[in-house]
């Protein structure tokens, strides 16, 4: 298969490979996965195994029989898509919907565009949004987190804190519970603590830079802060509340930082992050959906080529003119 390197020369191989990066991200997801198992029990296990298994299987089938090309399932990217998709789903989702989601992620969002590296949009998020629009009832009934309880389908449902803000009468958990993850929500998004541990690992191992996650979180913090200070009655959510709820942390740390669909340069990443932050807050506060993180990331994914075009990487060895 012909390959095209998009970065400017010279090219030095640092020893990083696609699969080593993927393994790093998978390791960083472990704390959040443990949190998911802790809060949602068997449901989390079933959803994640189904998602990973079906993603890898669909990628294999498409490459083997439809494209008849070289196989790439061993690089771990399909498994990563699967686990990220699972992290974006409620733990009581019927298994067949998870499989449909995996098919959309791999078949529609990734392989239709030519496989890893060619997909303009984050596959896991495309699948999540597809499912959210297709099966709104199932995708918005969140099980109440019950620590160390293996119950799966019959769990009590609970509104997410963001949905409560949008007018579903129920009590908002306190900040500590929000931070630990004791609230209704998708598998992997609930525990801010676990996600932050993952972020620390990614930063220490230099798998990602700080630019995208921090700019997203900071933008959301500042924007919601301004709104909250300006009119606390209309904009009930405090900045801390917005940081800790919904898919913000998960999106900022693991979804937006996807190499393929985010800008290459640091200034580009900052623009990307700020854009995601602003759109997320606009959807959350003024939109009809309680959560806008996935839409925001997908919209900015669409802008990535434009950002890359106008903010070009510096040539190696270029000296600033005086």
């Amino acid at each position: 298969m012909p390959k095209l390197d998009l970065s400017t020369s010279p090219h030095v191989h640092s020893g990083d490979t696609v699969s080593s990066k993927m393994t790093g991200v998978l390791i960083a997801l472990i704390p959040a996965y443990i949190a998911a198992l802790y809060f949602f029990g068997l449901g989390a296990l079933i959803i994640s195994i189904t998602a990973i298994g079906s993603c890898v299987l669909f990628e294999y089938l498409i490459q083997r029989f439809l494209l008849k090309g070289s196989l790439s399932i061993l690089d771990g990217s399909a498994a990563l898509t699967g686990i990220l998709l699972a992290f974006n789903l409620p733990s009581n989702l019927p298994v067949w919907i998870v499989i449909v989601g995996s098919f959309v992620a791999i078949g529609v969002a990734k392989m239709s565009f030519g496989g890893l590296g060619n997909n303009p949009f984050n596959p896991a998020l495309v699948a999540r949004v597809f499912l959210l629009i297709s099966f709104p009832a199932q995708m918005t009934s969140w099980p109440k987190p019950m620590p160390w309880n293996p119950a799966y389908l019959d769990a009590v449902t609970a509104a997410t804190p963001l949905a409560i803000l949008k007018g579903q009468f129920s009590e908002v958990p306190d900040t500590l519970n929000l931070f630990l993850g004791n609230m209704g929500g998708s598998l992997g998004e609930v525990s801010a603590l676990a996600l932050l541990l993952g972020l620390a690992y990614l930063l220490i191992r230099k798998i990602i830079t700080w630019h995208i996650p921090i700019s997203i979180l900071l933008t959301v913090f500042v924007f919601t802060g301004i709104l909250h200070i300006a009119n606390p009655d209309a904009f009930i959510g405090t900045p801390v509340f917005h940081l800790l709820t919904g898919g913000l942390m998960l999106g900022a740390i693991f979804m937006a930082t996807d190499y393929v669909t985010s800008p290459m340069t640091k200034p580009g990443m900052l623009i990307f992050g700020i854009g995601i932050g602003i759109i997320t807050v606009v959807i959350r506060v003024f939109g009809s959906y309680p959560e806008g993180m996935s839409f925001a990331i997908l919209i900015l994914n669409g802008f990535t080529p434009l950002i890359n075009k106008y903010i070009k990487p510096k040539r190696f060895g270029k000296v600033k003119r005086k």
Binding site: W96, V100, V108, S112, F130, I133, S134, F135, P136
Partner: protein
């Protein structure tokens, strides 16, 4: 210019299918195909307007002075669109409601003005009628296929008959994004078939 009637007729259905090959009339294609029936009705209404306008304009083509061709064409087309609208309103009120604004908007469908200008204004009545029929049927065919796929995937029904329980339908296909996704894959299938054909020919040359 000599041409075969069969060729003119089939041209619109397959080789130059207005939706899948020429990409004309995308707006009604995306907007009215949420079910097979609405897609087909839209296709048939367009077929009627296209056929009638093609015939009338090819009859009048030499009587219309150069400077007012567009004005005259649009007047004739809009007459037939209004006729179609009134007929559907009277005899098929449910469809009149579901097609809504897209029924009067047939007048701005590039397919009709395009065929009238490219074909009917240069060819005899007989071939223009065939072209109108072929293009109209091609349009109807594409819209019906698209509508059937969207209805089936979205609600588990085909022309209103349940194929699988509605519960399993992915709603997105009934909504706007589903129109784009389905149309994209439909065009991909057509393109891949065309590509295979040309590749076969190239292989033979080698």
């Amino acid at each position: 210019m000599k041409q075969s009637g069969v060729k003119v007729f089939l041209n619109g259905i397959f080789k130059e299918n207005p939706v899948l090959v020429l990409f004309l009339g995308m707006c009604p294609t995306l907007a009215t195909t949420s079910t097979a029936l609405t897609g087909m009705s839209m296709g048939l209404a367009t077929l009627f307007v296209l056929f009638a306008s093609n015939v009338v304009i090819s009859i009048l083509k030499n009587l219309i002075p150069e400077r007012i061709t567009m004005t005259a064409y649009v007047m004739i087309i809009s007459t037939f669109v209004t006729v179609a609208e009134m007929l559907i309103h009277a005899y098929y009120p449910a469809m009149y409601v579901s097609l809504g604004i897209f029924l009067p908007l047939i007048v701005v469908n590039c397919l009709i003005l395009g065929r009238v200008q490219v074909f009917a204004s240069k060819n005899s009545v007989f071939y223009s009628a065939l072209d109108g029929l072929g293009m109209g049927l091609g349009f109807t065919f594409a819209l019906t296929v698209l509508g059937t796929l969207r209805e089936l995937l979205g609600t588990g029904k085909a022309f209103g008959n349940t194929v699988f329980p509605e519960h399993y339908g992915a709603l997105i296909f009934v909504l706007a994004p589903g129109a784009f996704i389905t149309l994209g894959y439909l065009i991909a299938v057509v393109n891949s078939a065309k590509l295979r054909k040309t590749e076969d020919i190239e292989d033979n040359i080698d």
